[in-house]
Symmetry: C2
Subunit: 256 residues, 2 copies
Amino acid sequence: MKIALIGAGNLATNLGRALVEAGHVVCQVYSHTKESADALAMRLGSMGVNILSEVVTDAQLYIVALKDSALAEVLPTLVKGREYALWVHTAGSVPMDMWKEYGLKHYGVLYPMQTFSKAREVDFAEIPFFLEASGKVEMDILRSLASSLSRNVHEADSEQRKFLHLSAVFACNFTNAMYTASARLLEEHGLPFDAMLPLIDETARKVHSLHPSDAQTGPAVRYDKNVIDKHLALLDKHPLYKELYELTSRIIHETK
Amino acid sequence: MKIALIGAGNLATNLGRALVEAGHVVCQVYSHTKESADALAMRLGSMGVNILSEVVTDAQLYIVALKDSALAEVLPTLVKGREYALWVHTAGSVPMDMWKEYGLKHYGVLYPMQTFSKAREVDFAEIPFFLEASGKVEMDILRSLASSLSRNVHEADSEQRKFLHLSAVFACNFTNAMYTASARLLEEHGLPFDAMLPLIDETARKVHSLHPSDAQTGPAVRYDKNVIDKHLALLDKHPLYKELYELTSRIIHETK
């Protein structure tokens, strides 16, 4: 199958790599900067373009991995003359019906729920893929493609995918924000962030066998006001972290 | 060395187990309820008591693992007649100097930085222990004890320990609160929390090789208002989670 990859960001980079490793051919990479398009294309043995009219017209599958706000800018021009192909996007929060606006017949969603950074290669085998498609044939194609990358392939409709994405923001993006706060507080006092890693690992491992509400520990769960007040005083120079500490402690205590 | 364990909560339970596994003898377990004292004592091949005057007077080391607010209630009575021994507490936020109030000469802090639940056995070998002691002899005893449990033993003064504990609250307790929010949102929509585990694991693994501020992904880092507004609308029924979403997104965006 001839695949064109629209986008060269974190997700496109990791997905492109995984596709090529699994033996697929990515015939072209589009990005709105030539530099990004070429950088990824080179890694994929592909060609980079940054002009929409130069995107190949004969791909069988267009995988669109752009930030949500770029979709409406790029797609009206891009889709034109390429309506026969299968089009998928990779976004958690964008409903599949978006494709109808562009007069397409074959479309769907290929949503790999993972955190991607260009600097880090991710093992795709365990990544949950959530698929949605306009029909049975399209779903079969997407399932076969996703299954060549991962053992963890599911179907999810647009409504479920919205909540998967929202939940992933809490479990991943906001978790990482807690790590960052922790790192900053340590570094300001000459302590290495590495000291936190065993604790971070155990916190993640723990919820494989306990529900997170049963795994909760710390001063907020028992509402130890003595400790909480001391911690708030230590955060006087960080008003946003202080607000975060107060709110999260309240949530832990009130929703336990 | 004859050790008395004062406390039978999550930390005391896990520490007691690790001590016994490493070949130490815990001669007694105190808790203010007989039931908890006996339950832990039975697992440690020890004796449980819930009356302060029945605590042995001939232990060489008293390890006090009580919640911070209980220290001032229990210690004045408990220390009396046992001043010759080495006394340590296990709390991140309590300064070592606390012991001076009780007229002790041999004292210190044994702070294992980890999240402990009674329902889950933790491998102590990797847990960072942070030690502080009133003198060289006391430090040698604590270092030898901690090294029999873990390969990861450090010294830290009371000021550093305050920030270690505060940072641990962010990296562990608040991280777990994000997992809980994620689990609740999924479960309300008939989706299994297990689907998040590959993402949770990768989020933790990632900060072993990238600084968390470089590992940050998601709509907040690029301030994708389109996605953020959709997510806030999905949280209408959860005002506290909505507030948490707004605040954490602001923190991610403003401190990147």
